[in-house]
């Protein structure tokens, strides 16, 4: 299936290229008539490129949710560490008075 998709992409690319060349060679008033067909050919080509790209989007919405959760967890760890660090400094300060 993957080879077929690549071959289809090539074929669509040739068709698109032919239409692009034709469109470019035309005078402006004739380009207007050809443009919808050109856009249709391009949409098919672009859509297939995107389809072939889609398996590469491996990170899911659930993964993104997990990233946020991990980030929050690390932030909470940072707050906890700051709190304890502050307490240690306070103890050290207090110790000076007791001794």
């Amino acid at each position: 299936m993957a080879d077929n998709d690549s071959e289809t992409l090539k074929f669509l690319g040739y068709s698109l290229g032919d239409l692009q060349d034709k469109y470019r060679d035309m005078p402006p008033h004739e380009r207007a008539d050809l443009r919808p067909k050109l856009d249709e050919a391009f949409d098919a080509y672009q859509d297939l490129r995107i389809l072939l790209l889609s398996p590469g989007v491996i990170i899911t919405d659930a993964d993104l949710g997990q990233m946020k959760a991990i980030g929050d967890e690390i932030s909470r760890a940072a707050d906890k560490q700051s709190l304890i660090s502050g307490a240690i400094k306070l103890v050290g300060f207090a110790r000076g008075f007791i001794v």
Partner: protein
Amino acid sequence: MKLVLTQVLSLFLCLSFVTFNSACTKEKAEALKTAAKDFRTQASVAIHKLDKLFIEDVAFASLSNEDSLAKIVDSLKNGPSGRRGIEQIVYESEARALDTSKYSQKLNQIRDTYEEFEGMFDDLPRGHYFAGDAVAKSENLARKLVAQMIFLANYIKTNPFRLNARLQRAVDRRRDALAETDVVKRENKLILLATEIKAIRTDTQAANAAAILECLKGAEIGIRVVHLIQTYKTSSVTDILAIVRDGLGRVNQLTGKNTDALMKRVEEINTTISADADWNAILARVITEMNG
């Protein structure tokens, strides 16, 4: 009482000192945060290359001023009359570019995943001691992001992009050469065009290889991130520095290599990470979806 209190406070201070000199030092946290940032930066470079490749894949070559004017004159003579006719000529007086934004949006979706990943570690240096478990949870996400880079490299290799504008100009030049009535001039034009054809082939391969290279660099940096995550709780600062140096060395080795050499490295990474059950599960799903 004063003695007891002093002893308790001293004990608390000692425990805290021991605690904060554990394996999860601030240096390791900074190294991981920096590596995640490098990963995001490099992924962005790779994705930008992919974006540009598609724009060039469907770009129009501009016409010479002479040709452009000739076509407008043709339309003024033969096109529809009235205001509508004039507006149509103005609107189509240059070949209008094709809209690649849908494809760009797909790439942005991929780019965002690396930014989200980097963002996780913003507070890590501040919370390096207590964040060990959270860091461990990020390992599988890092693996998936490496797999994304590998996929993109394979995607470019399997479905390479064209330099469309140069191909269009080659079509023009061929037509012009074949229309030349002088035999010697025609032959010279065709020889010059043949040189350009070879250059288009070389430059097309180079453009695609350059994008593959950036994806591969992203994968190498991502592998470094995975190693840093795996060893975050247990390794020393020296170990961390070794992982970082090794990663940078691998990235430097990639520069200047041709497509075959780069794809060989892609295969090596595939083989290495396939030997790991967790990596393999991710890659197997990607390969299944690629093969439909």
